[in-house]
């Protein structure tokens, strides 16, 4: 056992040493590089060896996550691994934010090669922002939480993509036949997540008035009950998508507005000569501004309603899913959730009855004892 322990220590020390040397090399390279290229026009970060500084840093973080992710899956204690994973994720978001901001600010400051006029630069900035900031937020809302939560929050962030995928794979042929779709889709692209939400609503309305009615025709025959369950499941899925689209578009809208606030604040600070001197200062400005913005959204009755709708539709979908699963599980020799619930209820009521009766018996025993004692006293 002692040998194993030493091996573990040696391994970690070696690993740690390699990482330290790697980071030293990384730091030395990047400390030296700007000086070496000072004055060289048109040198962009992407043309530097090994990609951007952030790239290397991210590669290192990814490697650690993968390595420790695998390691901790087998480790018994659990909590340390999750903390480590979340911490690395925090560092990664920290770096991603830098990359986003550095690139966006590059465009805005006109440092892109072949400098452009203000309107063009602004347009380029907006396009970059729309494309990449949502990606950043998506990363944020898929943070490493426990597995069950990843799906819940991750799906909120991934919805526009899911929607787009669904579009092309299943609904697109029908959508293309619908009049006005190209215009709507183009509009959605300009408006970002809110546009997706609008188009989805429009699509759902069209669906319910046309194909939805066709698909809701009561099934007949041997598989009638099963088919009906599947139909209801489909409807629940569509409603879930609709609710999630509204919800996630509200989150993205606020995220984008918050970034606008960050930009405005930075501009004001810069003009006053108070611009952040370190990345940490910028990061703090970024997250506190975002926190304030989401708080304003979260305390509104509108958000509460959206959240309620998401949870409600998630539950409806889950219920339909359970129904379908139970249908398929019926022939198998395993108890279903409904059957177990019946059992739980019976057990609960029985336990309650037993407790009540036990209490009554004890009280009667006490009463009997008291009476006997009183009688004994009278006799004596």
């Amino acid at each position: 056992m002692a040998t194993e322990h030493k091996w573990g220590t040696d391994f970690f020390e070696a690993w740690s040493g390699v990482q330290t040397n790697l980071m030293r090399l990384w730091a030395d390279t990047w400390f030296g590089f700007p000086k070496a290229t000072e004055g060289a026009e048109g040198v962009k970060e992407s043309t530097r060896p090994w990609g951007t500084a952030g790239d290397i840093y991210n590669q290192w973080l990814n490697m650690c996550q993968e390595m420790f992710g695998e390691y901790w899956k087998r480790a018994p204690w659990g909590v340390g691994g999750q903390t480590f994973e979340k911490t690395l994720w925090g560092a990664q978001t920290y770096t991603k934010l830098y990359e986003f901001w550095a690139n966006a600010a590059n465009i805005l400051s006109g440092t892109s090669p072949g400098g452009k006029g203000i309107p063009e630069t602004y347009q380029e900035f907006c396009d970059f922002w729309l494309k990449n900031y949502n990606e950043l937020l998506r990363g944020f809302f898929t943070f490493p939480l426990f597995e069950p939560l990843r799906g819940l929050l991750g799906s909120a962030a991934e919805l526009p993509q899911m929607y787009a995928d669904g579009f092309s794979k299943f609904f697109r042929p029908w959508m293309e036949a619908m009049q006005g779709l190209p215009e709507k889709a183009a509009e959605a692209l300009k408006k970002g997540p809110q546009g997706y939400a609008d188009v989805y609503r429009w699509w759902l309305q069209a669906y319910e008035q046309t194909w939805g009615r066709v698909l809701r025709i009561p099934p007949l025959g041997l598989a009638r009950e099963t088919m009906e369950r599947v139909q209801k499941g489909n409807e629940a899925l569509l409603n879930y998508y609709a609710a999630m689209t509204d919800y996630s578009s509200a989150l993205y809208r606020v995220g984008t507005e918050a970034m606008q606030k960050v930009v405005t604040k930075l501009g004001e600070m810069y003009n006053k000569g108070q611009a952040p001197k370190t990345y940490k200062e910028f990061y703090t400005l970024w997250w506190t501004t975002n926190e304030e913005a989401v708080y304003e959204l979260f305390k509104s009755p509108e958000f509460s309603r959206l959240l309620g709708q998401v949870v409600d539709n998630t539950m409806r979908l889950r219920k339909r899913y359970d129904d379908i699963m139970e249908e398929y599980l019926k022939p198998l020799p395993v108890p279903t959730r409904s059957e177990m619930n019946d059992l739980y209820k019976t057990l609960y009521l029985l336990k309650k009855e037993v407790r009540k009766n036990t209490k009554q018996v004890r009280e009667l025993e006490e009463k009997l004892r008291t009476t006997e004692t009183a009688l004994g006293k009278e006799e004596s």
Binding site: W30, C64, W77, Q82, Y98, L145, S304, N341, E363
Partner: protein, 377 residues
């Protein structure tokens, strides 16, 4: 506008290098971190019923307070928050200050517990725990300390069984749910709790946690971990962080029928403060609370805002009633240094002053006599 970072590339590299070095240090500490301890203050199991367990802490003084106190914690999260780390343990502090403490551990409800109601919790488990403490101390009345949702339970209990309580202390307990100060109060209005309970039975703790971290998403899902990297130089800091992390995500599921009533009757319809709540068949009238009351709240509590806690004092008929407020938030009330230096002494003094017994009362009543009394009641 100029890019504030391009000219500060060296600064960025320096910051990232430092962050990386701290990450390595953190990795080293985490790799060598053995199982963390929580709730280490010695205690004995004195009663259990289904998944509920009643513990008695070993007194730390020769002559503890003659009237024991029973701590009722929330169903959400675990009661060891009050004894999270040995150098910042509210429980340990109170024991050191001479209190005699019992605590309820509600356990982790499983699928079979979906039908448990508030009636089962209050009139069943909690009432039985109170009776056990009364029986062990040979006293008719004990002190009850309710924390967070456990404070709401304690207030309900005090209104139903005032004859069993000598003093009531509530900490960060929601009583008046009609407030917009906390997001939970706003969101609960649209929460489809009936659909949730019908679908899931027992509401998983992880779903509750999503709601909690969403209250401050950037702080709780991002900056907290960056803060850990920043402050990972000391092993104790990392250990305490992991302890807190364990507590935050060690979340029991919520028994379906109990949380259904809690959300519908309290969060949505605010029946408790209106004296319209019923537990089982019994109406809950806060005016029946006549024992001394200490109402403790945290001034920056984002989960249970002061506006939800303070109205209790106007709703009861107790003549001896007071507030104690602490700067900070919901969690800080248990683990902050202020909690240890101010809250614990204040609670201990308040309880001790009101727990002095005349000699006759200390001698107590027999179990037989008490049972006879219960039956007559």
């Amino acid at each position: 506008m100029r890019n504030p970072f391009v000219e500060n590339m060296e600064q960025f590299v320096k910051e990232m290098t430092e962050t990386n070095q701290k990450l390595l240090k953190l990795t080293d500490i985490l790799m060598n971190l053995s199982d963390i301890d929580v709730g280490t203050t010695p205690k004995d199991l004195v009663y259990e019923e289904d998944k509920m367990r009643l513990f008695h802490y070993k007194p730390m003084v020769k002559t503890p307070c003659p009237v024991p106190m029973l701590v009722t914690y929330a169903l959400v999260n675990r009661q060891y928050m009050m004894d999270l780390q040995s150098d910042r343990s509210l429980i340990r502090n109170l024991l050191g200050l001479g209190l005699d403490i019992y605590i309820i551990d509600w356990g982790y409800p499983g699928p079979g517990d979906r039908y448990l109601t508030l009636d089962d919790y209050v009139n069943g488990y909690m009432n039985n725990a109170v009776d056990i403490v009364r029986e062990r101390s040979k006293l008719d009345k004990i002190n009850l300390v309710g924390v967070c949702q456990g404070g709401t339970f304690s207030v309900i209990y005090a209104a139903l069984y005032p004859e069993k309580l000598r003093n009531l202390v509530v900490m960060v307990a929601p009583i008046d749910f009609d407030t917009d100060d906390g997001l939970l109060h706003v969101w609960a209005r649209d929460l489809p709790i009936d659909n949730m309970v019908d679908t899931l039975g027992v509401i998983p703790g992880d779903i509750m946690n999503v709601g909690f971290v969403m209250l401050k998403p950037f702080q709780l899902m991002l900056d907290k971990y960056m803060g850990l990297i920043e402050n990972c130089d000391k092993k104790e800091v990392v250990e305490n962080f992991v302890r807190m992390e364990k507590w935050i995500f060690d979340s029991p599921g919520q028994a379906g029928e109990a949380i259904r009533q809690f959300v519908n009757d309290l969060y949505k319809n605010n029946l408790l403060i209106k004296n319209k709540l019923k537990i089982g068949e019994q109406p809950v009238d806060l005016r029946r609370i006549n024992m001394p009351l200490l109402n403790i709240f945290a001034e920056q509590d984002h989960l249970v805002p002061p506006s939800a806690s303070k109205p209790l004092n106007d709703a009861v008929s107790s003549k001896d009633k007071s507030f104690f407020s602490l700067r900070g938030g919901h969690i800080g009330i248990y683990v902050s240094s202020q909690s240890q230096t101010e809250l614990a002494p204040a609670v201990a003094e308040w309880i001790t002053l009101r727990s002095q017994l005349p000699k006759k009362a200390v001698s107590g009543r027999s179990k037989k006599a008490r049972s006879a009394k219960n039956q007559a009641t």
